[in-house]
């Protein structure tokens, strides 16, 4: 079945709700209106107000209510409309949900999911375009999932709902309309990267929209005789540095592409962890990130801000020729 990512998300929630009566879903404008990105249309009709409901604009109460219901028998799925609003919800996620299993001495788990729409490129401006993954990727006890394809979005969201840990599930706005095959939708553990294109000359790793950009760049680079291996991390925590290290052992070169700034980003951290493991095998490694500014609104500025396929190609060609020149 070919569906867009938006539908893959909706169907994942619906499928889990059908299978497990303890799954509930709530958020702002998600029930009757079906979400501002129309990613949850029809859920309220199918599952009724007790299981799918609209809430006040109270992000902190939402994450808190998710925590409280998750430790008492439910599997809440919460939508924080834009990832930018995650800062308002973070306290309960960090201090309650993420700590509970460990601090309670493993008395109980916290099976909750917080979904949010993230990322730039939609001309939404600085407060509706961020990716909050890096605010959260260092929090022990949390998982952070970030799919690039409808099939992964579907399977990983189902896995997230079944996961006994709190999971933050990032949905890139520019990927909602992207279509793909759902496939047979087997199980997929959270935290496994995937090699989405094989290549021997360098490894390009990214998540979400960046994976599509990397794939497009890889095609262009192939035209110049450079074969890039492209890895979709599919999430930020757990961070599958092993798959990346394995690839780098073969290619000798690593480029991590992040939609966000260098310092404090996942890309620099991944590069550091991979370097620690593969130093002797490395010919080069670097990060392509955004400038360290808020996301600009104006189309010319936003386009230049984003590390798209062209920027990746330029970066690879520049870096390779530099190393040849050296």
């Amino acid at each position: 079945m070919t569906v867009d990512l938006r539908t893959a998300v909706r169907d994942a929630i619906a499928a889990e709700m059908r299978e497990d009566a303890t799954v509930i879903f709530f958020g702002e404008d998600v029930a009757a209106p079906g979400g501002v990105f129309k990613a949850t249309v029809g859920l309220a009709e199918e599952f009724g107000d007790q299981r799918v409901f609209d809430t006040p604009i109270s992000e902190l109460a939402l994450s808190g209510a998710a925590f409280g219901s998750a430790v008492t028998g439910l599997r809440p799925v919460v939508e924080i409309m834009f990832g930018d609003f995650m800062a308002l919800a973070m306290d309960s996620l960090i201090n309650q949900a993420a700590k509970f299993w460990y601090v309670s001495n493993e008395q109980g788990s916290v099976p909750l999911v917080v979904r949010c729409a993230v990322g730039a490129g939609g001309r939404f401006g600085a407060m509706h375009s961020q990716i909050p993954g890096t605010w959260l990727h260092g929090v022990p006890g949390l998982k952070v999932v970030a799919p690039a394809f409808p099939a992964d979005a579907h399977v990983l969201l189902r896995a997230a709902i079944r996961d006994p840990n709190p999971v933050v599930f990032l949905e890139h706005k520019r990927l909602y309309p992207v279509k793909g095959e759902l496939g047979d939708c087997g199980d997929l553990p959270i935290g496994q990267a995937r090699i989405v294109r094989a290549g021997g000359d360098l490894t390009i790793v990214s998540v979400m929209k960046g994976v599509h950009d990397a794939l497009a760049a890889a095609e262009t680079l192939a035209g110049s005789g450079i074969e890039a291996e492209v890895i979709d991390l599919r999430g930020l925590r757990p961070l599958d540095s092993a798959t990346v290290a394995g690839s780098v052992s073969r290619t000798g070169r690593l480029l991590a592409v992040e939609e966000g700034p260098l310092v404090g980003g996942w890309a620099a951290g991944l590069v550091g962890i991979v370097a620690e493991r593969t130093l002797g095998e490395l010919d080069d490694l670097w990060v392509l990130a955004t400038d360290p500014t808020p996301v600009p609104y104006s189309p010319t500025l936003e386009d230049a801000y984003l590390p798209g396929a062209d920027a990746i190609v330029d970066s690879v060609l520049g870096r390779l020729s530099a190393s040849v020149t050296e």
Binding site: I57, S58, F124, P296, Y297
Partner: protein, 313 residues
């Protein structure tokens, strides 16, 4: 209020309306990007409040902030250019519709985060408590369920800060009716629970808004501490550009259109002896000015990216 005074307010409201009409056209033409949240129908609130402000006073508004900006004196061309992402935009095209800042006109920001305006104005009132002046926060009914509302109103009262909290209750937060998510039905009771004087006013009646807000601002200026004003109003259009507003019960919009703030003030002007023709002429000249300003913005260039530049003061 004299006819002349009311005509002045009427003209300002027409400017806001004309601006949003123009924005809508430019959005459909693809000149404005992402999304916009139009103020159409709520003009009496920001016009009725801001007309009592003085130089040095500060305003914080929301993503639905074109009205507040214009009411504070932001240049319509600069505002339109901002929405179009041009260098001549009041924020150089960096902010866009949701995050406009115009310090020169006392607008410390429009905030894309619901509730953010409340914090900004509360903080500004700490400064103004020392320097003199009043801060105003505009925010919606939906924002009264946000953390910022609670913590800031309490802080403002505890510190007796000179701030007017203006809740524009337009009955909806996005697609969700206020009543479905706002417990207790009466938002004034929340403010009153912090010991803040709380009034409700017809937010479509610019005279009533001016009177209530003017009195509250005067009290705050005189040292009364925070004040709260709920303005009952209605947005004529959907929440944002993608919203056809099908969630409204039939007849609701029509009933509110009968109470269109511009119609009410025009009617009142006639009562006060103004000629209908003169009103129409005035309206048209305002509309022409705004249209010209918005069209002019179209000629301005897009900013050139400066990759690698450092952006810090």
């Amino acid at each position: 209020m004299s006819a002349a005074e009311l005509l002045d307010l009427h003209r300002r409201m027409v400017a806001l309306r004309a601006f949003e009409d123009a924005v809508q056209r430019q959005f459909l033409r693809g000149e404005i990007h992402g999304t916009v949240h139009l103020y159409t129908g709520q003009e009496a609130v920001s016009v009725g409040v801001c007309c009592s402000l003085q130089p040095g006073d500060r305003v914080a508004a929301t993503y639905r902030g074109h009205g507040a900006a214009l009411a504070m004196g932001t240049d319509p061309r600069g505002l339109a250019a901002e929405l179009m992402g041009r260098t001549s935009g009041v924020c150089g095209g960096r902010a866009g519709s949701m995050n406009v800042v115009d310090l020169a006109h006392g607008l410390i920001g429009c905030f894309g985060i619901v509730g953010g305006s409340i914090a900004a104005a509360t903080g500004a009132a700490i400064s103004l408590g020392r320097l003199g002046g009043v801060a105003v926060a505009f925010f919606g009914d939906g924002a009264t369920n946000q953390a910022y509302f609670h913590e800031c109103l309490n802080l403002a009262r505890v510190r007796d800060l000179p701030v007017l909290f203006v809740c524009e209750n337009n009955l909806y937060g996005e697609f969700t009716p206020m009543a479905a998510v706002t417990a207790g039905a009466d938002i004034r009771a929340r403010a009153a629970a912090y010991g803040i004087t709380a009034e409700r006013v017809d937010g479509n009646d610019v005279e009533a808004v001016r009177e209530a807000a003017g009195a509250a601002i005067a009290r705050a200026r005189a040292g009364s501490g925070p004040e709260f004003l709920e303005c009952l109003t209605y947005r004529h259009l959907g929440h944002s550009k993608t919203d056809p507003a099908t969630y409204r019960p039939p007849g609701e919009l029509e009933a509110w259109l009968e109470r269109d703030p511009l119609m009410l003030s025009a009617r009142r002007l006639v009562e006060l002896g103004a000629e209908l023709d003169a009103i129409k002429t005035a309206e048209q000249s305002v509309r022409d000015e705004i249209d010209a300003a918005v069209e002019a913005a179209l000629a301005d260039p897009y900013p050139a990216p400066e990759p690698g530049r450092e952006y810090a003061p």
